[in-house]
Each structure stands twice: as C-alpha cells, then as structure tokens.
C-alpha cells in the first residue's frame, strides 16, 4: 500500500515538469491542476486507509521500504497528511480559476505552479520525516517553495517586502531548529526521531532542547510574540498560497511542537503551564489585533494567530494531562488541539480562498471600500458566512466542536487536578470565551461591511467561477459535517492519540459526553428554522420600501457604518495595549467641513522588538567605517598588525 503514497508523491514531480514544459500556458495550468488533485486524492486515500487501520497496527511501517529509517508513517504524521491533503485539494482546484487572471504573465504562472506543487510535496514529506536532516531539508524546501510561490506578483513593492520578511524570519526559525537537532544528536548520538527520549532529569540539555524547539517551531506556527511575519506574508501571497500558508504551513509548526512533546517523557508541569499562558495570550491579542485591521487578508492572518493560540491551549492541557497521567485530560487536550488544527485548516482555507475571490472582483483588500456584495453573489456570501461562523467558534459548525473539547478539558482539569488549577482553568476558560466574543465581533464586522448594505465603491459585477464554487462548497460542507456529526473525526483522533502516547490507555471518546445530544440540538435548531421559514412563506403580505432614515430620505452609501467605527466601541477599551492610533476630524462649526475617522493599530512585537533591534544592529555596523579604507598602505599595516597580534598569542600560549 505504500506504493500508493509513492505514486502520489511522484505525481507531484510530473506536475512540476508538466508546468515547465507544456505549451500553451492555459493547457499547462489545467493539466497541472488535474495531476496535482489526483496526487492529493491518492495520498488522502492512503492516509485514510492507514488511519482506519491504525488501532490494530502494532508496528510502524516505513513509507519508503528501502529508507526505513528516513521516513515513517505514525499516527500523528498520518493525521497531518490527512489535514494537508483535505485542504490542499480545494486549494488547488481554486488555483485554476485564480491563475486565470495572471495568464498574461506566463513565466510567473509557470514558476508559481512548479513551486506550488513542490511545496505540496515537501510539506507531505515533512510530516513523514523520521530523520532530523531529512526533516530539515523538507522544512527548508517548504520555506523556499512558499517563498517562490509568493513571487507571482513580484513587481509589487509590498510583495517584495512581505516575501522578504517571510523568507528571513522562517530562516531564523530554521537556525534555531539546527541547534535543536544538533543538541539532540549530540546527546543521543542519532538523527532518528525514534531515538530521542528527553527527560527533565537531564538538566540543562533538556531545557535547552525544549527552549530551542519551541522557539523554532513557535516562530513558524506564529505564537505571539513571534508572530510578526504572518501579517506581512499572508496578505501579499496569492490567495491559494495564503490559504495554504495559514491552513497548513503554520500547522507544521504545531506538528513540530507535538513532536517535541513526544520526545519528552515525563513531561514537566511547568511546560504545560507555559504553553497555556503563551497560547491564551496569543489567542486574545491575535483576535484583538484582527479587530483593528481593515485589510481583509491581514485580518485573517491575525485570526490565524488567534487560532494557533487556541490549538496551543489544547496542547497545554494535553501536556498537563500527560504529566499528571490523567487519561481523559490527555484525550481532551490533544484531541481538541488536533481537531482544531483540522477545523482551522478547513475554515481558514475557505475564508482565504473567498478573500481571493473578493479581492479579484473588488480590486482592493481594504474592506472599507467594499459593500453590497450580497446583492451580486448571495450564494458566495452564504459560503463565506459559514466559514465566518465556524471560525468564531459558534455552533452548529466545526469550529465550535473543537473549542467544546477544549472547554471540556478545562472542566476536566479543574476537577481532576485540584488545588490552584481550578482558578487557572477558570481564567483560561473566561479568556477563551472572551476570544470567542471578540471573534464574533470581528466576523460580524467583516461580513456586514464587505457584503451587506450598499456598495461603497461602484461594483459592476461579482463573478465567482464554478471551480471556486466547487472548492468553497467542499470546504463549507466539511465545516457543517464536522459540526453536526463530529464523531466522523473523533474516532480517528482518538486512535491517533492512543497510537502516539503508547503509555496511556485512552478510553473511547464516547464517554465524555452524549455526542448525539449535540447532533439532536443542532438538527432541531435547523428544523425549527425550517418550520418558521415555511410559516413565513405562507403569510405573503410583504412589501419593499426604502430603509427608514429618521425621516431623511436621501441616504447615500457613505452614510453607512464603517468598519473602523463599528469596531471602535470595543477597540477603544484596549486602545493603549494595541497602540491604537485614531485620526478624527469631527464636524464642529455651524456649516461642518468634511469630517473623517480612521484608526489603525501598530503591532507591538514589530514596533517594540523587531524594528528597534534591526535598527540597533544597523547602527552598530555603521560604526565599522574604518574597515573600508582604500589606501593600500593600510592593508600592509593590517598584515603587520595581525602578525604581531598572532605573535603575541603565540608568546602567551601555554606550553
């Protein structure tokens, strides 16, 4: 069966070659899309078959039988493969119609296709890597290919800057990972993941390894305060790529963190607590920064930070569960984290693809300039709405389900751990509730400003191609399915956890709650809705009239509420923390001048840490002017000086 996966992987290469060779570009595009989707489907089938077989699998079977030590498919890897392939298929499908707008730039499109198919490949190999060097190679390749993919519109200033920041920041993460793996190799004398068994009894090496691991993977995952690259990279990437970035690539950071946790046994309690605190911090501030944004893709990028935070909370709970060996908590924590990883991948991909459609039709990313889209494409709006409700963690969609698990985890931990943990858990749960509330505000904001009301800037037509509808439809239906019938995934997740934490016997997930009750509730909600709608249908006396404007009848689109003013109520509460800058000119005189209100927030980690650090180093560099002398006599004297210095060392050298 492993040949299935081999075939899948090799197909990506074929796709890349096809993208390079086939003329004209139009055919190349469609053929590559078909090949890639096929390959992804094959890998998806592979992952599913393995995962279903997982409970009775006793041994790890090598992916490539001849390199047994390099690649292996354990539960976690397979689960992430499932995630990747599931969201990659719609992404690739929508790529087809996205690239239609760029066909005139043939070279760019070709390079995008090549790098994208190689990106898919490297990401899938990454999760299977069992050898540190292989892992690093896949990791860097992933970065490289993502970077090359971002260059689709490379002539734009912002694209250059954003991709540059992405490239350098992720490279920094890689440098941390070098140290991480070297330390491991130094200590265990092996590169293979399966030989790494850390324990806090090792002293400093343990702290070092964990520190570097979390740093490296945390930068990639975008935990605060290491998140600053996301809001730069996501907006400038082409929509399918930014969907993949946010849906999958930052999840590889999560995957890495899972691996780090797997290496450590027993897990110390402080690790769990630190993860929890950092995560809830990123969740709250991620969503709050998102609330201050008016650039749709930047906003979504900040939401990725928020959701990474939520996933992190799950992981933290799981770590606590392992360190206190509470099986139910382990399941709820890790299960919630994995499930939310999957869900976030789904609805974030949906939202980013949708944003791509919007940006192409409105020719802007600024939501203040949009509006009234619902009158052009109500089905599209419906799909986007599903994604928005799901990401706000509201039932009956999948986002709620994973948060539900995490909440259960809080209660469970509080009940099981006792002493001060209930307090912590309560605070965390309130934090999560707060995040939910803010997310709700944020997504009501973007939906109502972008879609509802009337157009703020003229919008002739809003075209959504059939492929885009297919992609969005697939994702939306997944949102609904996992929301209403979560059992479909939970079984897999619990087998994955059982597999990867062999020490702990996990009870069946059914014992945590009556899942069918949830289904009943959601179904009954839907039924009620249907009933009432039908009832409304019968009573037909309706009429269309102008909106009521307090007697004022000449309403213009500019009189609508803007995103800034909508979010202002809540933002001004924390305006100091967010470095919120408002520019207001209110009408004063008897005959008021035109007035306006703008607000935007500075990212604190960028403003406070990164930029000053960079500036400092640049200043230091300027102070080495003397090295750039041009007179040859200086060079000669340098030689003399160095000889004397080395001589001095030789003289003081101990015999």
């Amino acid at each position: 069966m492993q040949y299935l996966f081999l075939i899948g992987c090799s197909l990506f290469f074929i796709g890349a070659i096809a993208a390079l060779l086939i003329r004209p570009i139009k055919h190349a595009l469609s053929i590559v899309v078909v090949i890639t989707v096929l390959a992804l489907a094959i890998n998806l089938i592979f992952a599913l078959m393995r995962l279903i077989a997982l409970p009775m699998v006793t041994d790890l079977f090598p992916v490539f039988s001849d390199h047994a030590s390099l690649f292996r498919a354990d539960g976690l890897a397979l689960f992430f493969l499932l995630v990747i392939t599931t969201v990659a298929i719609p992404t690739v499908i929508s790529t087809y119609s996205y690239l239609q707008h760029y066909l005139h730039k043939e070279a760019s499109v070709r390079s995008f296709l090549i790098s994208f198919s190689l990106l898919l490949l490297s990401t899938q190999l990454l999760v299977f890597a069992n050898h540190s060097i292989v892992f690093l190679v896949c990791w860097e390749l992933m970065t490289l290919m993502a970077y090359l993919g971002m260059l689709l519109e490379k002539e734009k200033e912002e694209v250059q800057k954003g991709s540059f920041i992405f490239f350098t920041t992720t490279h920094m993460a890689t440098l941390f990972l070098y140290i991480f793996f070297f330390l491991l190799h130094d200590h265990f004398g092996s590169w293979s993941f399966s030989d790494f068994h850390l324990s806090s009894s090792m002293g400093t090496i343990f702290y070092l390894v964990c520190g570097f691991g979390f740093l490296g993977f945390g930068i990639k995952a975008g935990f605060m305060p290491m998140h600053f690259w996301l809001p730069w990279a996501h907006p400038i990437a082409p929509a399918p790529l930014s969907a993949f970035l946010s849906g999958v690539i930052i999840k590889t950071g999560i995957y890495g963190i899972f691996r780090v946790i797997e290496f450590c046994s027993p897990l110390p309690v402080w690790m769990g607590i630190i993860i929890l605190v950092v995560s809830v911090f990123s969740a709250i501030f991620g969503v709050w920064y998102a609330l201050t944004q008016h650039d749709i893709k930047k906003l979504l990028a900040y939401h990725s930070i928020e959701n990474i935070g939520i996933i992190g909370i799950g992981i933290g709970l799981g770590v606590l569960g392992v360190s206190y060996s509470i099986q139910s908590l382990v399941w709820l924590g890790f299960g919630g984290a994995l499930f939310h990883t999957f869900n976030h991948a789904i609805f974030k991909t949906l939202l980013f693809l949708g944003s791509g459609v919007i940006c192409h039709n409105c020719h802007t990313r600024d939501i203040e300039k949009m509006g009234g889209i619902v009158h052009h494409a109500s089905w599209f709006v419906g799909l986007f709405l599903i994604g928005s409700i799901a990401i706000s963690g509201i039932p009956p969609f999948n986002g709620f389900m994973s948060e539900f698990l995490i909440y259960k985890g809080f209660f469970n931990a509080a009940a099981a751990l006792g002493n001060y943990f209930p307090l912590l858990m309560l605070l965390l749960s309130v934090g999560l509730a707060f995040v939910g509330g803010l997310a709700l505000v944020c997504f009501t904001k973007i939906n109502s400003i972008m879609f509802l009301g009337t157009e703020r800037s003229s919008l002739q037509s809003f075209k959504v191609s059939s492929t885009e509808y297919t992609a969005l439809g697939m994702l939306a239906s997944l949102c609904i399915l996992f929301g209403i019938y979560p059992q479909s995934v939970l079984g897999i997740i619990s087998s994955v956890i059982t597999f990867n934490h062999a020490g702990i016997i996990i009870q069946p997930y059914t014992m945590f709650t009556h899942w069918e009750f949830l289904t009943v509730i959601f179904v009954s909600v839907l039924l009620t809705i249907v009933c009432v709608v039908l009832w409304k249908k019968f009573n037909t006396n309706q009429r269309i009239s102008q909106a009521w404007g307090c007697g004022y009848t000449a309403l213009t689109p500019r009189m609508q509420y803007t995103a800034s003013s909508y979010a202002d109520e809540i933002n001004s509460i924390a305006s100091q923390t967010l470095h919120l800058e408002k520019h207001v000119t209110a009408p004063k005189t008897l005959f008021p001048q035109p007035s306006h209100f703008v607000s935007h927030a500075e990212d604190f980690s960028e403003k406070r840490f990164i930029a000053p650090m960079y500036k400092y180093i640049m200043n230091k560099i300027d102070s080495f002017e003397f090295l750039s002398r041009t007179d040859i006599r200086f060079y000669i004297s340098f030689m003399l000086i160095m000889a004397i210095i080395y001589g001095g060392i030789a003289i003081v050298w101990p015999h």
Partner: protein, 307 residues
C-alpha cells in the same frame, strides 16, 4: 413515558407560553411603582398577536440576511430554552457540557441579530449593532464566571447537575449563591438590554441599543424578535432564580410552585431597579461590565482559598 412527555411538554409550554407574561408583569409593576395604572399584564400577548398579522416591510437594500436573521435568532433562543431545568424537572436536552453549548447557541443568535441589523446599511442600526457587539463581548465572560465557576467547583458540566449541586445548608455555597446571583443579574440586564444598560422604553435612536437594531423590522420579523427577546428574559430569569431553590428533587410540585413565586419576585426586583436607576452613559457601560466580570472571580477565589 409520561415523565418524558412531561419533560418535553412543560418547558415548551412554559418557555413559549409564560415568557410574555413575565414581561407583562414587569411592565405592570414598573407602571405601578411610578404611580401609573399601566397596561394590562397580557399586553405582550396582544402585541405579539398584532404583529403576527401585520404586513412585513423590507428595506430596498435588504438581502436574504434580514429575512433569515429573525428566524434564526428566534429558533436558536427557543431551543436554548429547552436546556434549562424548569423547577427541578430534568430538561429534555441535558448532558455534560451543555453549559458551553448553551452559551454558544446564544452567540449564534447574536451573530445573526447583528448581521440582520447591519444588512440594511442604515447607520442607526449600525450604531445599535456596534454597541450590542461591544457589550456582548463581556456577556460570555460573565456567564463563565457565574455558571462556569459553579461548574468548576461542583465538577459537573451540565446546567441541571450544576444547579442540583447547590445546597443552601453549607455556608461556602451560600457565598457562591450570593455572588453568582449578583453577577447573574448583571448578565441578565446586559443580555436582555434592560436598565441600566439599555432603556427598552426610550424613543431616541441615539440612546438605544437593542431597540435600534430592529428599527427596520416589521410584521412577522418584529414578532419573532420581540418574542425571542421575551424568551430571553425568561431564560435569564430562570437562570437567576434557580440559584435560590432550597429544595432538592424530592417534591417536583412544591419545587415548581416555589420556582414560580421566585420568578414573580424577580420581576418585582427588575421593575424596582428599573424605576430607581437611570440609564448609564454609553461610554461608562464597559467599566460597569468589567466590574460585573470582576466580581465573578470572587467565586473561585473563595473556593480556592477559603476551602
């Protein structure tokens, strides 16, 4: 079987049937306290009947959202109501973790209300929606501080069981009851947009919150909105009242009648508060809510340190 029917029917009837009456009672008592005669307590029923037969007018800029929103909010709130115990009758949909589901279902309702308000694109409703959103952000923390803290203490995650776990006889839980009921009252005031957060009877758009959101709804839509707001009050009323039920499950009928009396008391309290207190300035509401959130934490501090 009989009990099952009873379990099924009672909440349905109670939630659907009695909630307008509760509002009627509140208004009547308010009128009396301000020395007016006031409308009959059945007035809400008349209103609902009237609205259900009026024609529905949609703004020219309205989309399917504003047709859908009232329906969703109504039905969601109705279903949420079925998760609460009436008296001590075990609710139909009660399972471990329904605390969370309850909170988030109401979130769904809010989501659609806000969208419905924003749909027209009129700035009045935008203003209302913005305020509603801003203040609703605090509702969930308060909720988790009140019910959630009890859940953390008791270790149950189902509303029914949480309420069962309350016993007046042990002093520490008495403290919980006092603190929780206070913050639950704040919660009710916030969620149902009563005084001092919002004045349901005001007629100046610029000062309204909930009322201004439904300016452009009429006929059946308005009917649904009104009805769901009545149900909401009832739900939060039950929420509040259940803290004070001294009876354990021995006698359903006794428990139920006491429950009714307590609801009556609550209506009086609400009416009294609304006559005594003036509406807060919009700007000062967040502080008020933060305060409400903060007192919730007392529960846990007590639990953690006094134990």
């Amino acid at each position: 079987m009989a009990t099952l029917i009873f379990q099924g029917l009672l909440p349905f009837l109670f939630i659907l049937g009695v909630s307008p009456l509760l509002v009627g009672l509140i208004n009547k008592q308010k009128a009396l306290l301000t020395g007016r005669l006031g409308a009959p307590i059945w007035q809400p029923y008349y209103d609902l009947f009237r609205l259900s037969r009026k024609e529905t007018i949609y703004a020219s800029t309205a989309s399917f959202i504003s047709r859908l929103a009232p329906v969703v909010s109504f039905s969601v709130i109705l279903i949420a109501g079925f998760m609460l115990p009436i008296g001590y009758v075990r609710p139909l949909l009660s399972f471990s973790g329904d605390i969370i589901v309850f909170a988030y279902l109401l979130g769904l309702a809010r989501f659609f209300q806000i969208l419905g308000a924003m749909d027209i694109g009129s700035s009045f409703e935008g203003m209302g929606a913005a305020r509603e959103a801003a203040f609703a952000v605090f509702a969930e923390p308060i909720y988790f501080f009140t019910i959630g803290s009890l859940a953390f203490v008791s270790g149950y995650t189902s509303l029914y069981e949480v309420y069962l776990s309350i016993h007046l006889d042990n002093p520490s839980s008495l403290v919980f009851i006092i603190v929780s009921s206070i913050s639950a009252f704040f919660l009710m005031v916030t969620e149902c947009s009563r005084m001092p957060i919002d004045d349901p009877t005001t007629h100046l758009e610029l000062t309204m919150i909930h009322e201004v959101m439904i300016l452009d709804n009429s006929g059946i839509d308005l009917f649904l909105y009104q009805y769901s707001s009545y149900i909401k009050i009832m739900i939060y009323g039950i929420f509040e009242v259940l803290f004070f039920n001294p009876f354990s499950l021995h006698n359903q009928w006794l428990g139920f009648s006491l429950f009714a009396i307590l609801l009556l008391l609550l209506s009086t309290v609400v009416a009294w508060v609304e006559t005594m207190i003036a509406r807060l300035k919009i700007k000062s509401i967040p502080q008020y809510l933060l305060f409400a959130t903060a007192i919730g934490i007392l529960n846990l501090l007590i639990y953690t340190f006094v134990r």
